[in-house]
């Protein structure tokens, strides 16, 4: 292994724990509602306006707006003005957490992979 293990372990913890503590509580509450989760999943496919979301779900525009407000407060969704419309999209911070998760997963897995490549396999009975 190249690099001191203490430092690597420290990195792993710092990647994960602040995210858990800071973001997840509000995110979980926000996604606990099935309609809000449907809105969130729709936005995962691409940015949309309130009218476009309401057209794809059996929900009124005012209700969509209310759900979007909760998702925004939880840092799951952000909005930008495009001309006279407001367009909603997934907040990059939400995706950053998924990236952190898989980043750590692959760092650990490739360390184990390197060990396997460089050491002969154990005999299987």
């Amino acid at each position: 292994m190249a690099g001191p293990p203490e430092r690597l372990t420290g990195d792993l913890e710092s990647l994960d724990l602040p995210f858990v503590a800071t973001y997840q509580g509000r995110m979980l509450d926000a996604l606990g509602d099935p309609t809000r989760r449907a809105v969130f999943e729709l936005l995962a496919a691409g940015p949309r306006s309130v009218a476009e979301i309401a057209a794809d779900l059996p929900v009124s525009r005012p209700a969509v707006s209310q759900h979007l407000k909760v998702l925004k407060d939880a840092a799951l969704v952000s909005s930008t003005a495009v001309g006279t419309r407001r367009v909603y999209a997934l907040d990059p911070r939400a995706l950053a957490a998924v990236r952190d998760y898989f980043d750590t997963f692959w760092q650990q897995s490739l360390a184990a992979f390197k060990d396997a490549v460089e050491n002969p396999p154990e005999e299987k009975p």
Partner: protein, 158 residues
């Protein structure tokens, strides 16, 4: 080979240099997947017996539990030894058995000869396919198969 480009905003990259030929590294990554897979990572409720890769494009990546159940969680997209191995990753960050038609992300692994062995570059992209898995990530963090288990496994390898 799938030709769509990688969006860096929805990708993670990891590299490692291993002291072996590309042929051996490719073989351990695929045929030898079970030798290095972190045992706490499995989808079926019972303990993991093995993970396997069918060595062809379109082949299934599966796990088998100690009780004989199996589940497919990946699909080989490119099988081009010893240089390139690409597969669809169907597991969300919740580590639940995926639907057969689940939206997947993509893992591209390339093996490049370097002076002291082989550089293995792994790109896991299209991660926005797993965007709605937050609550399950939280559950995983607190369970034995989640972060505590991972960190224990990691500590054993260093």
């Amino acid at each position: 080979m799938t030709s769509a480009e990688t969006d860096p905003g929805t990708a993670v990259r990891t590299s490692v240099v291993v002291g072996a030929s590309p042929e051996h590294a490719f073989d351990v990554f695929t045929a030898g997947l079970d030798r290095w897979w972190i045992r706490s990572h499995h989808l079926l409720p019972d303990d993991l017996k093995r993970v396997t890769v069918e060595p062809r494009a379109g082949g299934a990546i599966r796990e088998e539990s100690v009780t004989g159940q199996t589940c497919t969680w990946g699909r080989v997209l490119t099988w081009d030894p010893p240089g390139t191995f690409v597969f669809a990753w169907l597991i969300g960050s919740d580590w639940q058995v995926p639907d057969p038609d689940a939206a997947g992300s993509r893992v591209t692994v390339t093996f490049t000869p370097v002076a002291d062995g082989t550089r293995v570059d792994l790109v896991h992209d299209r991660l926005d396919a797993h965007g709605a898995g937050w609550e399950k990530v939280r559950d995983g963090v607190g369970s034995d198969g989640g972060w505590p288990g991972l960190l224990r496994e990691y500590a054993k390898t260093v």
